[in-house]
Each structure stands twice: as C-alpha cells, then as structure tokens.
C-alpha cells in the first residue's frame, strides 16, 4: 500500500486513466514503427556492405550480412581517387571551417554590442543577402576573375559567413553573456579588443562548438560548389567522387572480355557502392548521437528571434 502511494505522489497524485493508457499504447506502437522505418535502410546497407557480392545481387541479404566478407571494402580501397578525395575533403573541411569560424566570430562580436554604431544598417546588409543574391552565374564570373576557380578558395571564401549562424552566435553573445561583465571591464579600463579576447571568447565556448559542427558538416557534405568550381579530379572532394561512382555510375573497370568475369565485376561494383556509402557516412553517423545535444542547442538558440 505504502509503495503505491509513493508512486502516486511522484506522478502528482493524478492517476493515469484507462483512455490515456490506451493512448500511450497506440502512440508507443506508432513511434516504434517509425523507428523501424528510419533505421532499417541504414541497417540493410551496413549488412549489405559486409556481405558477398553474390548474396547482395541475388537478394539474400535482408537483415544480417550473408557470407560475411570485406570484398566491398577492398574494392573501395583499390579505387585510385578514394583516399585522395578523402584527404581533400578533410583539408577543405578543416580550412573552410576555420575561416568560417573566424569570420563569423569577428562579425558577431561588434553586432552583439548594443553601443555599436550603424549596427542596424550592417545587420540589414547581412540579412538582405538571405533573400536576394546575384545568382549562380555572377558568382562564377567573379571567382573566375579572381582566378580562384579550381582552388580551395573557391570553396572556402564565398560562403565564409552563413547569416543564420551569424545570428545564432550574435544572439548567444547578446543574451547568454551577462552585460554586467562588459560594464565592469570597461570601468577597469579594458578595451573593446581586450574584452573580446579575455572575456567574451572564453565564455562563448558552447555556441562556438555548435557553429563549428554546423559548418564542418556543411563542408563535408557539400558537393555543389565543388561541381561548379573544381575541374582537376585530383582536387575533387569525397562527395564528388561519390557522385561519380554512386550516381553517374562510372567505374574504373578493366577491359574484360570474358562475360562471366564482367558479370562478377558488375556485382562487385554494386557491392562497392554499399561499402562506399558506409565508409563516407560512418564518421558523421557515429558522431551524431554524441553531438546531438550540441546541435539541438544550436537550433534552440537559433529559434530565439534575433
């Protein structure tokens, strides 16, 4: 008896009615179903990537790997541009994100200060670029004139400040860093620059982490700008190589005259796609549960109207 009362107390003394119990059952079932729909394609691809080429093409793989092996992965590693493009993507992501961060931070700081002159005007200049832009062609001509085409700068510079992330960062600096700190430091004779380096930057850790992740994921997954601006295959990022193999379906196949060998090679090419999907997405997928909290926080900061 006592136990029952204790439990009731925890639930604010309000008992769950029969109707509600039914509701929880139905919704629980629905969400479980959704869970399966979301996770199943991912599990399938993981399993397929570890199966043999034959098992995949004949449709034997349904949930778990069949004839487990690493043929697909071996084939990926043999691809001449895979490691190169992986490396390229890493460098583009690293440098691009660093540039993004420094530009966004030095823009967000003055705009977060209430006493900043022309704040409204400058903010308008930024937000206006969200609703109107010159478009694909003028951007391209500009980069060509600056001879940045086919260099990392064409990927890193044009989008170095994302206005949404700028607003997120500015909102954080305005509302989550106490303004008393600024006043106190000013009284002590701290300059605007010193305040930035000594006080604001160390306190902005959380928002910097969030925005770093947003930018980095954006760089890693972007293919469109590389498609427009990069010409040399040795400079291609991973996503562009992925596009060629997964979608444009171009494979480095040796000229094989034997039809049975060609067939085997075709099914290996299909298996390779699964392994490639896993290899390229694994870093972010494994990371996602851990950074989930960060991302959610960023979305919440962004939800506050700037």
């Amino acid at each position: 008896m006592e136990q029952a009362v204790a439990i009731d107390k925890r639930r604010n003394n309000i008992q769950v009615t029969k109707g509600d119990r039914f509701y929880y059952m139905v919704v629980g079932l629905l969400l479980t179903l959704l869970l399966i729909v979301l996770i199943y394609p991912i599990i399938y691809i993981v399993s397929a990537s570890f199966s043999s080429a034959n098992a995949v093409t004949s449709g034997k793989v349904l949930l778990w790997p069949v004839d487990p092996g690493l043929d697909g992965y071996r084939a990926v590693f043999k691809h001449s541009l895979f490691f190169r493009s992986f490396e390229n993507s890493f460098v583009y992501t690293l440098i691009g994100t660093l540039l993004n961060l420094s530009m966004t931070i030095i823009a967000a700081y003055p705009l977060s200060r209430r006493d900043m002159p022309f704040k409204g005007l400058i903010m308008f200049l930024f937000t206006f670029t969200m609703i109107f832009s010159g478009g694909m062609i003028p951007d391209y001509i500009l980069l060509k004139d600056l001879s940045m085409i086919d260099t990392i700068w064409a990927l890193a510079l044009p989008g170095s400040i994302n206005v949404v992330y700028l607003i997120i960062m500015r909102t954080f600096m305005m509302h989550s860093v106490p303004s008393e700190l600024l006043e106190a430091s000013q009284i002590d004779g701290c300059s605007d620059t010193k305040y930035f380096f000594r006080i604001l930057l160390p306190l902005s850790g959380p928002v910097i982490a969030v925005v770093t992740l947003y930018y980095a994921v954006g760089h890693w997954n972007n293919y469109f700008h590389a498609l427009l601006y990069m010409y040399t295959p040795e400079k291609f990022p991973l996503q562009l190589i992925l596009r060629e193999i997964l979608i444009a379906n171009t494979m480095e196949t040796n000229m094989v005259s034997d039809p049975s060998l060609a067939e085997a090679q075709q099914s290996l090419a299909d298996l390779l796609k699964y392994s490639l999907i896993i290899l390229s997405s694994a870093p972010l997928l494994i990371l996602s549960p851990f950074v989930k909290r960060f991302f959610a926080k960023g979305a919440m900061i962004g939800a506050i109207k700037g």
Partner: protein, 317 residues
C-alpha cells in the same frame, strides 16, 4: 529657408558628436571591417553582376563592357517551351514538399513530447536525427540502390511478395516527385522536430496539471495545451517555408535526374545550370532565369510575411 538653416545649425554639433562617439568604437569598427569587405566582394558585387541578364555577355568584354540588350533574354525564356515546364515542376515539387513535409515534424514532436519513457524518447530522437547527417549524394545513392528493380531491396521484396518486378522508379516521370519528397521526409522529419521540442519544453507544467484535474485526456491536452504553445513557432516556420517555395534545392534534384524523368524533374535551378555549364555557356540567358527566380522568391516572402502580419500573427520583421 529657415528650416534648412535649423537643420544645419542643429546638425553640425550633432554630427560632430556622432563622429566622436563612432571614433570611440574604432576597435569594434575594425572588427567588422573584414566581414564587410567580404560582404561587398562576394555578395553585393555579384548582385551588380546580375546585370548581365540584360546584356549579351561576352567573356572578352567582361560584365561591364558587354552590350545592353534589354529584356531580350527574359522574352526568350518566357517564350521557350521550357518556361512552363520548369516553372510547373518547381511549383509542384515545392508545394508537395511543403504540404507533406511541413506537418509531419509537428505531429512527431507533439507525439514524442507526450510519451512518458525517457529512454524510449531519447532513443527515438537519436535515431530520427541520424539521417540528417547523411550527405545528399549518399542519400540519392541509397535511394537508387534500394529501389533498383533488379538488385535493390525494394525490387527483391516486390519480386518475392507480388511476383512481379518493381518498375524502374527513376525512369518514370510520374514517380519522381514522390521519391523526392518522401526521401526528404525520411531524412529531415526527425531533425525538424528539434525546434518544436524546444518550444514544447517551455510549456508550464502547471497548465498540464490543471487540465488533467479538469479531466482532460492526454490527447486533449495535446490539442488544447501543447499545440497552442507552439503555434507562434509554426507560423514563423511556415512563413519561411512558403517564402522559399520557388527555390527548391538544386543539389538533390540534380542528382536524381535521369534522361527519362527529366519531363517532371527539370526545375528552374537545374535548368540554369545546364544552360550555362552543360549545353553551352549562355550566361546571360541563364542569369535572366536566375534573376526571375530570385524576384519571385522575394515577392513571395514579402506577401506571406505581410499577410500573416495583417492577420495579427507573428511575422519575420
């Protein structure tokens, strides 16, 4: 005359004061200087470059040296047989995405918020965020693999359950929009709940308790407590989405295009890309189309924002 004098008299000391005030903040101005230069070069200069839509662009003459031709390229676009097609496709795809994709994260967030088990909730959240991290290229590659009539999962299942092979979905114009929209929902519905979850977390528990004491069931509490609490968030997101109606993302559509489904998959942005980089280099014509698209977007955003403000709801500015 007097008023002008007044302005000058009052204006002078004022502007000097402004100058001094601004000088006091020279360090802040220095901070914003580089971002401003970036903004002018990479965002505002290309806006001037959009003038090639009204010119016949020749690379050797450059943007400024090319000859003005007025509305020639716009007329050519409006008269081409592609005009109606790309406009319709853009509209259909975005409207379909909005109608199917907008309510689902809301429903999902409400249901998830109403559940009791903390672990279960967290599991559903983690799993539903996952697809968001997969790149567009890989998502399209996944759809192509899974719906491959011969070796794909869907093809194999269809063969064994219905006894007939799956039609080639990528080769038929009719199924393009469904594939596009529903794979988008699969990828982003979970991620889309975050913003609503944040709003729901701010609901005062006392409201729920009061409703419970009055005998409201869990479902009724969703309708009368939770939903009204996230209504402002819903409105703002609806404005943004409706304003972006005609700017369907280039990336995914372009990847999903095949020669066979082009009839229903060619949209404004992919057409611009092809006109300028694939089928030739008609930069002026492509710019005219792009500019036309930008203008539609801007007008749409202003209209939607104006309407919601008139109705007394939330607005963007």
């Amino acid at each position: 005359m007097e008023t002008v004098k007044d302005v000058i008299r009052i204006g002078k000391p004022l502007s000097r004061g402004n100058l001094r005030k601004n000088l006091k903040h020279w360090q802040l101005m220095l901070f914003i200087l580089i971002p401003l230069i970036y903004l002018l070069i990479f965002k505002y200069y290309p806006m001037l470059g959009a003038q090639i839509a009204f010119k016949d662009f020749k690379p050797q003459l450059g943007i400024w040296g090319s000859e003005w031709v007025g509305m020639k390229h716009f007329d050519a676009f409006f008269q081409s047989y592609q005009f109606e097609r790309v406009l319709r496709n853009t509209f259909v795809i975005s409207l379909y995405s909005l109608i199917a994709g907008f309510p689902i994260p809301i429903i999902l967030a409400l249901l998830l918020h109403s559940m009791r088990g903390k672990r279960f909730k967290s599991l559903v959240e983690t799993v539903s965020y996952m697809p968001h991290f997969i790149s567009t290229v890989v998502i399209v590659g996944m759809i192509m693999q899974l719906f491959n009539p011969h070796i794909g999962l869907a093809g194999v299942v269809s063969q064994s359950v219905f006894g007939q092979p799956l039609p080639d979905l990528f080769g038929s114009p009719g199924s393009f929009s469904h594939l596009y929209v529903w794979s988008g929902i699969w990828q982003n519905a979970g991620w889309g709940t975050i913003i609503y979850a944040a709003a729901l977390a701010g609901v005062d528990p006392a409201q729920h308790e009061a409703a419970q004491i009055d005998g409201a069931s869990r479902f009724k509490r969703i309708l009368y407590v939770d939903l009204p609490a996230i209504m402002p968030t819903i409105t703002i997101l609806l404005i943004i989405n409706a304003g972006n109606m005609m700017s369907v993302g280039f990336e995914k559509v372009f990847l999903m295009q095949t020669d066979l489904n082009l009839r229903s998959s060619e949209i404004i942005s992919t057409y611009v890309y092809k006109v300028s980089f694939v089928q030739g280099s008609n930069f002026s014509f492509a710019s005219a189309i792009g500019l036309f698209n930008s203008l539609i977007n801007m007008v749409l955003l202003l209209i939607v924002n104006g309407v919601t403000r008139r109705m007394g709801g939330s607005s963007l500015w």
